[in-house]
Each structure stands twice: as C-alpha cells, then as structure tokens.
Amino acid sequence: MEKTENPILKAYSKENLPEMYQVLAPNGEIIESIDGKIDKSLMLKMYESMLLLRMFDRKSVNLQRQGRMGTYAPFEGQEASQIGSAFALSAGDWMFPTYRDHAAAIIHGQEMYRVFLYWMGHVEGSICPEGKRTMPPCVPIATQMVHAVGTAWASKLKGEENVSIAYFGDGATSEGDFHEALNFAGVYKTPTIFFCQNNGYAISVPFEKQSASKTISQRADAYDIHGVRVDGNDIFAVWLTVKEAVERALKGEGPTLIEAITFRYGAHTTADNPNIYRNQEDISTFWRENRDPITRLKKLLINKGFWNEEQEEMVLKQISEQIDTHLQKAEEYPKADPLDMFNHVYAEESWHINEQQQELKQILKKDVKK
C-alpha cells in the first residue's frame, strides 16, 4: 500500500521556511520582536484558550466514541491557527467557519454547548448568540468563501468598520468557489480575510495531489490581492498576520489570502481511519513533539516565568468543569421536537408545510398512545 509522504513536512523544511512567517519558534524562542505588540495578558489568554479548546476537542471525540454525539471533525493540532486568527477579530466581524473550525467559532462568541448540539444533530445546533455574526459551520467545501465576500461588501457599502473572515482548508482551494471568491474580493476590494488552514490533507488526499502549485498563498497574485504564508502553529505569527490583514481591510486596501501551515493530529472525522493513508503514528508524534502550538507557547511562558505547572493544573481543572457544564447543558437541552422541522423553512407559513406538520403530529400522537 502506497503511503504518501507527508507533504506538510516538506512545507516545513528549510527551503520553504523563508517564505513562512514565524515569530515563536517551535522551541519556544521568540525569533522576531513582539515588543509592544503582544503582552503577558494576551499571551496568557491565548495559552488558556488553546488549552480549553484542546480539551474541548478531545472531549468531543470521546463523546462520539461513547455514542453521545454523531460524527465529529477534530481540530487538535490546529489550535494556534484558529485561535490566533479569531483573537485578531472584533466582536462585530463576520465569521464563516467550516465543520472543523469550532475553536475559531468559540473564540468568536459561539457557545460550546451549541457546538455539542450541532454534532448531536440537534435542530438548534447552528444558532449563535444573539447579535453575534458567527455563522453556522459550512459543510459544502469552499462555498462560504463567497458569502464572506458578500458580507464584507455590504459592510463597505454601509460604511461599517467590520471585516469578514472565511475559514477553509487546503482541499478547498481546488473548488471553483475559491477562485470566484478571491476574484470578486479583488474586484470590489472587499474587507475579506481568506484564512486557509493548510493541514496538508483533504481527508486522505495530500496537497501534492490537490495541485501542482507549491503554496496556496502564491495564488493571491493571480488576483492581484495580498497573500501571506504563515506558520499556522505559531499563534503569535497567526495573530499578527490576521491583525495586519484586518487593518489593511479596514483601510480600504482590500482582501488578504492567508495560508497557515498546520496539521491535524487526528482523523479527518471520527468516521475516518487515517492509518490507511498516512503513517499516522509517526507523523502525528513528529508534529506533537516538534511543532505543537501549545507546547511552544508553554515553553515561552515558563521561560519568562509567566506560567508554572501548578497554574496549569488549576486551569485544566477549571476548563474541565467549564466543558462539563456545557456538556450538561447540551445533554439537558430540550430534545429536538420533530415538529420543529416544519418551522423556519420560510419566514411566513405555507399551507403545504402546515399540513405536513399536522400529518406528522397525528402520527406522533398515535405513537405515544401505543
């Protein structure tokens, strides 16, 4: 069985490093000054958020295994990309995440119990808190990218100071919608940020089978828009890059395409077995040991005396409780009422849907009687 070499290791290799923006090296050293840009409190917030969301992700995988949740798409390994980018946004910004971007969504205001509900197949799993613009996870690949052009365009037309950010993967860059979105954003100079997490794989397909192009960021040139390549496991670099893109967008300088090099440690979804298409053990261990986004920040924090194991233990306990609270909320959430499926198809009622709702109501009554 041919197992393809990990293309991400190539991306991380020396030749490619020069074009990949990095601030916090894997060994925890700062290799580019962040003075006046990232202070202790932000570092700690970033760190604790990554811890929280890693725990959340692991919990979710477990819940799926226990049959308490449906298929789930884990993001472990990609925390720096998702959290670093989301930290750079303002509350009113529009976020278009995929099925894997719960860390980004949660940082941007989505609630953990909603994410649980989403994967429990609850009809109310796609709502975000009132007033927020954290859109439901997008399932059809790359389709959300054009939405982020539209919302950003509207912000611009209305003179509102908001950006729109679309999350997507390396695989998504093959879809026509990727192209159309970047092109439209270029034409209308919309304040859109295209944030690609290049984790090297679209399910089993390595990026080298996805395209002959070496990088994703180079595609920005095709539209004369700005493109950047960044170490997606370096939360500082990600944050700084997205912050700059936000500023550029708000100054009217148009969209940015960001390629964040990262890796998912686990399966594509809980329905996937990565051992079939890559040396899962080797490759994940390699990444965990050499590139982990959390470990490297921890090293820095400890070096700087900002953090110690006691604090870690305490925070982990808090996090665990916090997640449990959300889980409880999700599991105690009123069970989805089948009759709900007839609501919100349209803003106004329609005879055919009403009748079908009545029809099911009768059936359900009968079921209860039995």
Binding site: M135, G150, H344, V345, Y346
Partner: protein, 327 residues
C-alpha cells in the same frame, strides 16, 4: 395613474421603484450596468443609481449568487440577474445548499432576502441553452419560492412582492413575452401576493393550467375550441410555481371535472406532474377524464429551427382538450 408597458418595461419599473424607495436594494449581474442588460431590463438604472447599487459583475454565477447571499445576510436586498436560465447552474449549489437553507438551519436567525431574476423559455430563436424551462429544479427545493408572470401587470406586482419577500425567490421571466405586447400598468407600486394563482377565464367544461409564455397559447386554444366546439374552458394562470396555489387548482377542477396542464418544460417530472398529483389527492372522484399534459417533449430543448415543434402549440392543446372531453 396608468401607462402602457411591455413586460420588460414593467420589470424595469419595479426595480426602479424599489431602488428608489429602499436603500438596501441592489441589482447585480452580467452586463446589467452600463449596458442596461442584454434584454435591456435594467436600462437607465446604472445612470440613476450608480455603480454601487447597479453592479456589473464578473462572469461567474456562483460568485454572483454567493456574494449576493452574503450581501443579504448583512442587510442588503440583492436582486440578481442571471443572463439566461441555463446559466444559473454554476450557482446552483449556492441556491440549493445555502440560499434555500439558511433560515432553516439558523432557526430564523439569518434569512436570505434574495431575488434571482432570469429570462426563461423558448420561442425566441435563441442559440443552444438559451431556451430552457427547468422550473422543476427549484419547485423541488424547500426554502425557495418560484414565480413566473405571464403579463406586464403581474410582472411588476410580483417582482415588487419578490423583492419585499424575506426569503429567496426565483423569478422566471418568459423571454418570449418581454416585448410581445403592452398592457395597462399602474405607475404606482402595487403587489401581487406570491402563492396565488389567478383564474384568467371562467369556464365549465375543462380547466387549463398554464403560466408564463404558455398562458397565451392556452387562451388561444380555449378561444378556438369555443368557436369550433362551443366548449368553455376555464384558464388558470398559476403565477407562483412553488408553493402552488392548491385551493385554486382544486376548486377549478371540482367545477369542471376535466383538466389539462400546459408547460414548456419536459414532460417527465415537469411541474404538470405535481399539479396532477394535487388533483389526484384532492379531487380524484371529480375527474371525468385523465388530466392531460401538453408539454415540451422529453428531449433537450432542440435547436431553434425546430423549437416551435418542441413547444406546446395551440394545435396540440386543442387536441388535448378534445381527447380529454371525448374521453
């Protein structure tokens, strides 16, 4: 105040008035700005409302419809023109997987008040793929509404309703009728409710269901048959193709006991099938004969030298009526 307008003029006026009245309304499409639309449906609007509200887009339907969805999410009311119905396919995913489902999946939190206007239908000697009539695709998609006017008056009233509708509306404009005739159209804004068919002509012997360009064929056939045989056909203009106005359909069939559907689309799984099924559900015992379908054939809409034979003709409708009445 009233005026004589063609359908295309009535459509332009509806957009003009909504653009004038509501800042959130935008028009987007290929060649709809400087050029005023390949059928001139947006003539003058670019000059009047400027490039931010009447937007010449790149040639990319997913991009147009997808970004219009984003615009709609963020407070705008986009009216998209797709140049011909068959060119909607690149944006099909955006319509079916997003526009139609956004309200549903967010439990009403986010809606998509989007109108997609597009010329449809044959009979204009158009090149390949300029004459399609695939309303079924949209009429099978919950979350969408589908509208098809048959005259200038309805076109204006329905388009204003569509633009004001909080949900996505596919607005099918029968190309053949754009300039076919003029009609009294009020100058002021008015609305024709989406979801309501109209009994255009009362009759007692048989009901003809039609819409768009086929309505006139239906009326012509009805007139001829009345002259020749003395039979009086009721003619129903469906106007909204999804959701259908069941009550009007059923009421008419209960009265006449005989029916015939005329549409341009292919027969198999065309909208006629749904109309027949509604009648089967609600009025089977009233039927004195099978409901006949006089439709486009189950072949790709052919090259224009034979398109008139693809389309239902007065002759075919008449024959359908005779077969139904003499069943």
């Amino acid at each position: 105040m009233s005026q004589h307008l063609t359908m295309i003029q009535a459509i332009t006026e509806a957009m003009d008035q909504k653009l004038g009245q509501d800042d959130r309304v935008m028009i987007l499409g290929q060649d709809i700005g400087v050029n005023g639309g390949v059928f001139r449906s947006t003539e003058g609007l670019f000059e009047k409302y400027g490039k931010d509200r009447v937007v010449d887009t790149p040639l990319a339907e997913a991009g147009i419809i997808g970004s219009a969805i984003g615009l709609a999410l963020n407070g705008m009311v986009p009216v998209v023109e797709i140049q011909f119905l068959a060119f909607i396919y690149p944006g099909f995913e955006q319509i079916v997987s997003h526009a139609a489902r956004m309200r549903y999946r967010t439990r009403g939190q986010f809606g998509v008040p989007l109108v997609i206007r597009t010329p449809y239908g044959a009979g204009i000697r158009g090149p390949e793929l300029h004459s399609e009539s695939v309303e079924t695709f949209f009429a099978h998609t919950p979350g969408l509404k589908v509208v098809a006017p048959s005259n200038p008056y309805d076109a204006k009233g329905l388009l204003i309703s569509a633009i004001e509708d909080p949900d996505p509306v596919i607005f099918l404009e029968p190309t053949k009728l754009y300039r076919a005739f003029k009609e009294e159209v009020p100058k002021e804004m008015y609305r024709i409710p989406i979801g309501q068919a109209k009994v255009v002509q009362e009759g007692s012997d048989l009901t003809i269901f039609a819409w768009g360009a086929m309505l006139r064929e239906a009326l012509n056939a009805a007139k001829k048959i009345e002259n020749e045989k003395g039979w009086k056909c009721e003619v129903v203009d469906l106007r909204t193709l999804y959701p259908l106005d069941r009550d009007t359909i059923v009421k008419s069939i209960k009265k006449t006991g005989r029916g015939l559907v005329v549409h341009e689309a292919h027969k198999s799984s065309g909208l006629g099938a749904e109309i027949i099924s509604i009648i089967n559900d609600e009025a089977l015992i009233y039927l004195k004969a099978p409901i006949k379908r006089v439709t486009g054939f189950d072949v790709p809409v052919p090259q224009f030298s034979v398109e008139d034979h693809y389309l239902p003709t007065v002759e075919r409708i008449k024959q359908g009526i005779m077969e139904t009445i003499s069943f």
